[in-house]
């Protein structure tokens, strides 16, 4: 378990202090994929670097498996870092080493003998699907392949934790999906606890169990993804999760309402069609973003009601009777 207690990070420049992290309290349970989302400059990269003390927090504590890191002597901290793998947005592979030697690198640091290290590196390259490129150099690989090598390298010392700093931000959507699926697989197969830093909701959505939303150096909101996704409490979470109204097409029709689903059980129920048929009135779907967590429907939908008042009321009544949450869309 990773615990952050009252974590603060202040950068001092000549004439002012910049607060990067302000009183961060977080708890990351073993075995989960924990997402930290925020806009650029919110402090999320600093936050993840405080977990393995690449950045020394100004105040507060980092506790991993009950051990406070800030008080550890340097050589013990270095040892402990071998239990925390890390991957980066820019991959950060050693350009002058082959793929195989890159994966061997953390094992060299850990003092594993060469034969054993090579064997382990091949296993990991198989896991990430790149064993055939063992003798290639990073410059000969694509972005997605480089990140796979970086993942293999980060896992070489069999860490309990894996920190991912914007690991998919430099990749195209297809490759992003493959890398995320690989991370999910690693989490499930090897039981590695993964901390994902990102500015993209789709990353959180695809693999995370829990999420913390960070804004202006604070944790704005934290909870299970399904919870935060369906019922965002903070403004920043709403901005990140619920796309702005601008995504809904501007129409000059009737009232627009937003339907919210947080735990609509009957996922097979074609309820919009049912509503239209039962009310005998048509609605215009302007925007929809829904998905299913644990067999339960979550998400949002913006619909335009018919101009005619009587038909509109019919639909509202139907929604109330069928327990669908809605609110007026401005």
């Amino acid at each position: 378990m990773i615990e952050l207690k009252k974590l603060c990070k202040v950068y001092k420049t000549a004439d002012k202090e910049i607060v990067a992290l302000d009183n961060i309290d977080l708890c990351i349970e073993d075995g989960e994929i924990f997402g930290i989302i925020g806009l650029s400059g919110a402090g999320k990269s600093t936050l993840v670097r405080c977990i393995n003390l690449l950045e020394m927090p100004t105040d507060g504590e980092v506790i991993i498996d009950g051990q406070s890191l800030t008080k550890l002597p340097r050589n013990e901290l270095l040892k402990l870092r071998q239990q925390i793998g890390m991957i980066f947005q820019s991959f950060n592979l050693l350009e002058q080493r082959t793929v195989l030697k890159n994966v061997c690198f953390p094992l060299e640091i850990a003092g594993v003998n060469k034969r054993e290290a090579t064997e382990r590196a091949h296993e990991l390259l198989k896991l990430v699907g790149l064993d055939d490129r063992a003798q290639s150099y990073p410059s000969q690989l694509s972005g997605g392949q480089k990140q796979r090598v970086a993942i293999a390298r980060a896992l070489a010392t069999q860490p309990k934790y894996l920190l991912c700093d914007e690991a998919t931000s430099a990749l195209d959507p297809n490759t992003t999906r493959q890398i995320l699926d690989l991370l999910k697989e690693i989490n499930e197969k090897l039981g590695v606890t993964i901390v994902v830093i990102t500015h993209e909701m789709k990353v959180i959505d695809r693999i995370c169990d829990s999420v913390a939303v960070i804004d202006a150096s604070h944790i704005a909101e934290v909870g299970k993804v399904s919870q935060v996704f369906t019922n965002p409490k903070s403004k920043i979470a709403r901005d990140l999760i619920v796309p702005k109204d601008s995504t809904a097409i501007d129409t000059e029709g009737g009232r627009r309402i937003r339907l919210t689903f947080d735990g609509y059980e009957k996922t097979n129920d074609p309820f919009i069609s049912r509503m239209v048929l039962e009310c005998g009135a048509a609605v215009n779907i302007l925007f929809a973003d829904t998905r299913i967590y644990d067999g339960v429907l979550h998400g949002h939908m913006v619909v335009e009601l018919p101009k005619e008042q009587r038909e509109a009321n019919k639909i509202i009544t139907w929604l109330v009777n069928n327990d669908v949450k809605w609110k007026e869309e401005i």
């Binding site: 690449l54 270095l78 793998g85 350009e95 002058q96 640091i109």
Partner: protein, 226 residues
């Protein structure tokens, strides 16, 4: 066409000896300049405020010393360092003394050259090594130097050519080699052909160093697709 003096020198193998002495002095001095300069470059790099072991005090003092030696023209530095040469090799004369002065002049230059090559190493790669628990020594020997190798080699060929230039100037203080032949037999005895032959031979040596340096740098750099 050529002067009598040229044939005299050539037949006595003096020009051939000059070429050899120039090469020999350059490479001996370069080797020692690197033995001193490379560690200095590493220290300058790692003690920088963005380095892996920031020590602003050490960095600025060392930087100042390096800049001090680099700002003195070689010909003046040579005269000033005569006592040091005497201290180290027991004489102020001849090639031994010249080599000492070449090393003193070249080491700060090499230090800056190495520092700038090491600065080119991607900070992210160093951070990655730190995240794996590498200590500073491991980062220097397993990340910084190997990753900067192609730049270090390119830098070395530039440094060696500079040292070769210095070695010719050393003729004014009794150093031998092509510089001495050009000054004594070419300039002082007004044999322009000998001066030009020395120029020509120097150009050839520089070219060879440059070509070999670039070749090795290209061969070692794994960032290019082969």
């Amino acid at each position: 066409m050529l002067s009598e003096m040229f044939y005299k020198l050539w037949n006595n193998n003096l020009i051939q000896l000059g070429v050899w002495e120039t090469i020999y002095m350059t490479f001996i001095s370069s080797a020692f300049a690197y033995i001193i300069g490379l560690p200095l470059g590493v220290i300058l790099n790692i003690t920088d405020k963005k380095g892996i072991c920031p020590r602003p005090g050490v960095n600025s003092v060392l930087g100042l010393v390096v800049n001090f030696f680099r700002s003195i023209p070689f010909i003046i530095l040579m005269v000033a360092m005569l006592p040091v040469a005497k201290l180290v090799v027991g004489t102020q004369l001849g090639n031994k003394a010249v080599i000492v002065m070449l090393i003193i002049a070249a080491a700060p230059y090499v230090a800056r050259m190495c520092e700038s090559s090491l600065n080119e190493v991607n900070a992210g790669v160093i951070e990655a090594a730190q995240s794996m628990g590498a200590n500073n020594l491991e980062i220097i020997f397993k990340v910084l130097i190997p990753e900067a190798k192609p730049a270090l080699i390119t830098g070395a060929s530039i440094s060696i050519v500079t040292i070769l230039g210095y070695s010719a100037m050393a003729a004014t203080l009794g150093g031998t080699g092509l510089g001495q032949i050009a000054i004594i037999y070419g300039h002082q005895r007004s044999n322009d052909d000998i001066t030009w032959i020395c120029v020509f031979l120097t150009v050839i040596i520089v070219q060879i160093i440059q070509v070999i340096g670039s070749y090795i740098a290209r061969k070692t750099d794994k960032r290019i697709n082969h």
